[in-house]
């Protein structure tokens, strides 16, 4: 039986345990892998962890576009080249929407596959100031504005790359769909250093 070691030693620092303890407390219970996840999610996980050249095929095969292949062709398409098209474009040619969700703000930029920009907005350009920029509603408004501008330039489908864990992360994707763009895939591009730069010191509240 484990003693209550860390808790008693942390008694003088109770408030400062804060963020790290709370998040790790939630994660520590995954010591037992719960087998109740949906089969689709598990299959998607396994599909994503195969090697790079296979990914497009398995990911494309897993996602059923309503306008494309029937259920019978799904098994055979894993072996062939991925033939999913959005407006006649291959996956690699669909425009990208970069969403940078920091804790104080959210930036959205819609870019072509060859990095030509379509539209760029942020919470600040939408008229929010200071603390209000770091909210989900501001991110949603900014995303809707970016989507409208991109739509005016002829963008219909978009693949989303999210960077950062901020309040506007989910709201921005929702705002893009509300603004009229169709999201075909979501990628997480959060920078994770392999122990590179030293972050700033811990806040003592």
């Amino acid at each position: 039986m484990p003693r209550h070691g860390p808790r008693s030693r942390r008694a003088p620092r109770r408030a400062r345990a804060g963020r790290a303890a709370a998040s790790s407390a939630a994660m520590a219970l995954t010591g037992q892998r719960v087998l109740g996840w949906g089969a689709r999610a598990a299959a998607l996980c396994r599909g994503l962890r195969t090697g790079p050249p296979r990914l497009q095929d398995t990911a494309g095969a897993a996602a059923k576009e309503t306008e494309q292949q029937s259920a019978t062709e799904q098994s055979s398409s894993i072996l062939q080249r991925n033939s999913m098209r959005w407006d006649g474009k291959v996956y690699e040619e669909v425009p990208i929407a970069h969403i940078k969700a920091t804790y104080n703000n959210t930036h959205i930029q819609v870019v072509n596959f060859d990095n030509r920009p379509f539209s760029r907005t942020s919470c600040g350009t939408e008229g929010f100031q200071n603390a209000k920029k770091g909210t989900a509603i501001a991110a949603q408004t900014a995303a809707m504005a970016a989507a409208v501008k991109a739509r005016a330039k002829g963008v219909l489908h978009v693949r989303v790359m999210v960077k950062g864990l901020g309040p506007g992360r989910k709201a921005a994707i929702k705002g893009l769909t509300m603004g009229g763009l169709e999201v075909i895939s979501i990628t997480d591009n959060t920078p994770v250093p392999h122990n590179g730069c030293r972050p700033r010191k811990a806040r003592r509240l």
């Binding site: 039986m1 484990p2 070691g5 860390p6 030693r9 963020r19 790290a20 303890a21 998040s23 790790s24 994660m27 520590a28 219970l29 995954t30 010591g31 037992q32 996840w37 689709r40 999610a41 998607l44 996980c45 994503l48 790079p52 990914l55 990911a59 494309g60 897993a62 996602a63 059923k64 309503t66 996956y91 693949r159 790359m161 864990l165 989910k170 994707i173 929702k174 769909t177 169709e182 999201v183 075909i184 895939s185 979501i186 990628t187 997480d188 591009n189 959060t190 920078p191 994770v192 250093p193 030293r198 972050p199 700033r200 010191k201 811990a202 806040r203």
Partner: protein, 87 residues
């Protein structure tokens, strides 16, 4: 991640326009792989002393919760033979 092939890892395709479900799948993958937790923890620097103690605490907690779950599953068994059959 930007130096590797983009759109290979940490990508989830959206099925039938169901963006919410796709975002949920992505979050679940990140949580299972510990990416979300690592990013949150590296926002502020964690001194080596605290890191060691936190890792030890998590190891103990993992063992404890696994054993407790086993115990509860054992106690909650319902499909067993009646030991007092005939009384």
């Amino acid at each position: 991640m930007a130096n590797h092939l983009r759109f290979v890892g940490r990508t989830v395709m959206v099925q039938n326009g169901n963006v919410e479900a796709a975002y949920g799948v992505l979050n679940r993958i990140l949580a299972q792989d510990g990416v979300a937790e690592a990013v949150r923890r590296s926002r502020y620097y964690e001194k080596p002393c605290r890191a060691r103690r936190r890792r030890a605490f998590e190891a103990c907690r993992r063992v404890y919760s696994a054993e407790m779950a086993r115990r509860i599953a054992f106690l909650a068994r319902s499909a067993r033979q009646d030991p007092w059959l005939g009384c």
